[in-house]
Symmetry: C2
């Protein structure tokens, strides 16, 4: 079933599949069935087959999927085939942790520049990256950096993102817990840590409260 729009929810799951497939490849497998991958990543096998069917026929009936081909194809879809360079804006506690975070490499992502406004921090080297003055954000385009991670205080988030948009950045991962407006060409994904934690008590109905458990039981698990 070619020439079909790829649903957003499928795009959201592709990185999950990608990690599972790369781990399987490391373990020496060359083929994998949707059922095996399902057990591994926790997504129903029928869902996996439908997701894969959106961008072509990569499986062989009776055999399974060719892991190498699938990995290459998913990377192409997600545009991870060419390594993506990212910039970090805001090197506070969270920013420093992100600089040290080892998980980006598996996806071919890397933080190659870091910016801050604090003169005390500018010039310091954290995890091999020298912290630069925020004014140099405008050079991002020339340096071939297309992604940005925003870890500044919420009051500075909107102006930071305005400057990133002006500098030609096209994708932003934002940790500031506030509404952001950006030009249509810039995709912003906001990750609000406190908000996720605040959602958690709702699913714990058996507390001492006399509140009715209006909603059903907790549905096991949830990703992102």
């Amino acid at each position: 079933m070619r020439y079909h729009r790829i649903p957003d929810e499928t795009v959201r799951r592709l990185p999950i599949y990608l990690r599972g497939l790369m781990i399987s490849a490391d373990q020496g497998y060359e083929h994998i069935s949707s059922q095996f991958l399902a057990d591994f990543v926790g997504v129903p096998s029928s869902q996996i087959r439908k997701d894969f069917s959106y961008f072509g026929d990569f499986g062989t009936r009776g055999v399974g999927y060719d892991i190498g081909k699938l990995v290459r194809e998913i990377k192409k879809i997600l545009r991870l085939d060419a390594a993506c360079k990212s910039a970090l804006i805001g090197v506070g506690d969270l920013g420093s942790a992100l600089l040290a975070y080892p998980g980006f490499g598996a996806y071919g992502l890397a933080i190659v520049a870091a910016f801050d406004v604090d003169p005390q921090r500018i010039g310091q080297i954290v995890n091999g990256i020298r912290i630069e003055d925020s004014s140099r954000i405008s050079e991002l385009d020339r340096r071939g950096i297309t992604l940005a991670i925003v870890a500044v205080p919420w009051a500075a988030a909107q102006s930071t993102i305005d400057r990133l948009a002006e500098a030609g950045i096209r994708g932003i991962l934002n940790f500031a817990p506030c509404r952001i407006v950006a030009p249509r060409r810039v995709k912003v994904i906001t990750l609000d840590i406190a908000m996720e934690l605040a959602r958690l008590p709702y699913y714990m109905p058996a507390g001492g409260s006399n509140e009715q458990p209006i909603a059903g039981g907790s549905p096991q698990q949830e990703a992102s």
Copy 2:
């Protein structure tokens, strides 16, 4: 329209509304219209009205919503009316940043305990919290701690969550990028930072690639 099940997507939005309402209250407002809140939090006003209608009639036609009543009600729904105590497991770079994160307080949440396996870290005090040995996780229930934040390496995540489940923890915010299985009574929300970043290049179609822009343009923004 009372006695109606609250949709999951509505629950996901409630913390957003809550923050917007509390900020409005701080600014001295007592009433707010769905349109005003919509502009503030970036959710359509019709969506806001439907969401609020799921748990009772809190608005007054021609006037708007009583902010105080609404804040109390949302807190009750989310079970944030009684302050929730959380434990942090894993005080590495990310864990330390979370200990210092000031954003939890607004929701009445607080990290009141921290655990690690590294003997070098145990006993140290980070942001007023003394790091304890992981073996004391079993005391969590007795200390009235019901939430946990897991920021350990992925290889240790499953065993950590097993122990938390055994200790009576009911809700877990997990930062480890891997599949987790937990008993049905434990709600796990996984927040995979690298995965979110890996999703971003997909929405930047104008790159040098000769790939077809199969999916439409970037739909402005996305929360969490």
